[in-house]
C-alpha cells in the first residue's frame, strides 16, 4: 500500500476542511470497497479521512412514518436493530443480506451510497422507500441521487450524514445474489404505499433505477402476474461474466414477482 496520511476528525466541519486542504483525499466510511482497492494499488489517495469519529453520523431513529439512519451505521447494526425490524423489517432484512458477516460488521450505509456500486443492495431501498439523503450541505431526494455508473449527485467533498426512509404499508426485497460476493446480480425492492407502488432495482443497470413500467402495472393490480406484460424501457442492462443483459432483464422480472408474492 502506498503511504498516506490518516485523519480522524470529530466534527463534520473538520472533516470537510481536511478534505479541502488535501491533495487527493478520500473519506473512509466502512472501507469495504476503498481499502481492498488501495490494497490492490488501484487507488492511492494522499489522505484518508475516517468519518467514524463523528458523533452525528451515528445512530438509528424512528419518527412519524420514517426510519432515519446515520451514515456511519454498519449494515449489521441495521440488520439487528429492534427499531428498524419493528418499523421497516424489509430494510433490516436487506441489510442482513449484504456481503458476508465481515462486510456487514465494517461496511456502513453512507459509504455504500457514496460509492454507489451498481450491484449494491441499499440503492434499491433508497429508491423504493422514497428516501431522502441528508448531507453536510443539503438534502437530496432519492430519486435525484443516482446518476450513472458510480456517479451520484454528491459534489466533491460532500458528506452524507443521514438517510431517511419513508415507511410503507408493506414491502419486500428479493435478490439473486452472486454466490461468491453476495452482490446483487439483480435485486428488486417493491414497496406499497397504500396503492402507490414503488419498485427499486439494483444490480441490473449502470446504477439503481425505478422500474416505472412495473410500478404502473402493480398500481393497477398488486399481483405477480401483473408484471408479465410489463417491460422496462430505457435501461441498458449490465452484461458481464456473471450474467448477460437478457438474463438480467429476466431476473429483474422474476425477482419483482417474488417480492410482490412475498409482500401480499
Amino acid at each position: 500500500m502506498h503511504s498516506f496520511d490518516y485523519h480522524k476528525p470529530s466534527t463534520l466541519a473538520e472533516a470537510a476542511a481536511l478534505h479541502q486542504g488535501a491533495e487527493d483525499a478520500a473519506y473512509l466510511s466502512g472501507g469495504q470497497t476503498l481499502l481492498p482497492t488501495m490494497n490492490q494499488r488501484l487507488a492511492a489517495p494522499s489522505d484518508l479521512i475516517d468519518l467514524a469519529g463523528i458523533g452525528e453520523l451515528a445512530g438509528i431513529a424512528t419518527a412519524s412514518g420514517q426510519v432515519c439512519i446515520g451514515a456511519c451505521t454498519r449494515h449489521a447494526e441495521v440488520a439487528a436493530s429492534d427499531a428498524v425490524r419493528g418499523a421497516l423489517p424489509t430494510l433490516a432484512s436487506l441489510a442482513g443480506q449484504i456481503g458476508d458477516p465481515q462486510v456487514r460488521n465494517r461496511g456502513a450505509i453512507g459509504g455504500s451510497l457514496a460509492n454507489s456500486d451498481p450491484a449494491a443492495d441499499y440503492p434499491a431501498a433508497v429508491l423504493a422507500l422514497n428516501a431522502v439523503i441528508h448531507t453536510d450541505r443539503r438534502e437530496i431526494a432519492g430519486d435525484d441521487y443516482f446518476l450513472g455508473l458510480f456517479e451520484t449527485a454528491l459534489e466533491p467533498g460532500e458528506i452524507i450524514t443521514r438517510i431517511d426512509f419513508a415507511v410503507p404499508a408493506r414491502a419486500a426485497y428479493q435478490k439473486f445474489p452472486n454466490p461468491a460476493s453476495r452482490f446483487a446480480v439483480a435485486g428488486v425492492l417493491v414497496a406499497d404505499y397504500s396503492g402507490d407502488v414503488r419498485v427499486g432495482v439494483t444490480g441490473a443497470g449502470p446504477c439503481a433505477f425505478r422500474a416505472l413500467a412495473f410500478e404502473a402495472a402493480l398500481a393497477e393490480s398488486l399481483d405477480p402476474r401483473a408484471l408479465e406484460g410489463a417491460d422496462i424501457e430505457g435501461v441498458i442492462f449490465n452484461s458481464d461474466l456473471h450474467a448477460s443483459a437478457e438474463y438480467r432483464a429476466h431476473l429483474v422480472r422474476v425477482m419483482a414477482q417474488r417480492a410482490v408474492a412475498q409482500l401480499l
Binding site: 494499488r41 488501484l42 492511492a44 451498481p118 449490465n238 458481464d240 456473471h242
Partner: protein
C-alpha cells in the same frame, strides 16, 4: 468485449472527419485527458487519468489509425497501458455516413482487457467502457452544436 453505438452529429461529414483527426478536439472531449500528441507516423499518444468508482488510474494509450478511407471510415487500433492496473488492447471501426446536413457516426469496438482490471473489475469493464464512449460523444457533439440547438440532439 464487443460494443457498438451510433450518434447523429449536426454537421457535415468532412468536419466530423477533421475533428476526429484533431488532437486538440480529441483531448477536449476525453474526460481526464492530460495530453494528446500526434506523432510523426500519424499515430496518437494520449495520457488519460480515468476514474471508475473507487479506482483511479493513469492510462497511456497508443492509437494507430489504419484503413483510412476519408471521410467515410477508419479503424483505430488502441494499445492501452495502465501500469499496475492492467492493460487493454482493442480496435474500433468508425463509419461516417451523410444524413442530410448531418452525419451519422457508427462505431464497433472489440477489446480485451488484462491484468488486475480484468481480474477484479470484470463486472464493471463493459459498463465503464459504455460510459466513457457516451461521455466522449456527448462532448464531441457539443463541439458542433450551438447552445440553442444542443437540447434537440437525438441519440
Amino acid at each position: 468485449m464487443e460494443q457498438s453505438g451510433e450518434y447523429r452529429i449536426l454537421t457535415k461529414r468532412e468536419d466530423v472527419w477533421a475533428s476526429l483527426n484533431d488532437p486538440e478536439v480529441l483531448a477536449k472531449c476525453i474526460d481526464g485527458c492530460q495530453s494528446m500528441q500526434r506523432r510523426e507516423d500519424g499515430s496518437f499518444l494520449a495520457a488519460v487519468k480515468a476514474r471508475v468508482g473507487p479506482i483511479r488510474a493513469t492510462f497511456k494509450a497508443n492509437l494507430r489509425l489504419v484503413d483510412l478511407n476519408p471521410p467515410a471510415s477508419y479503424v483505430i487500433h488502441a494499445d492501452v497501458n495502465g501500469g499496475a492496473v492492467g492493460f487493454a488492447k482493442g480496435s474500433a471501426k468508425v463509419f461516417l455516413e451523410e444524413d442530410g446536413a448531418a452525419t451519422l457516426l457508427r462505431y464497433e469496438i472489440s477489446a480485451r482487457v488484462g491484468g488486475k482490471l480484468a481480474q477484479l473489475g470484470a463486472r464493471l469493464v463493459d459498463g465503464a467502457a459504455r460510459k466513457m464512449a457516451a461521455d466522449f460523444f456527448a462532448a464531441f457533439r457539443l463541439e458542433f452544436a450551438s447552445p440553442a440547438s444542443a437540447g434537440g440532439l437525438s441519440h
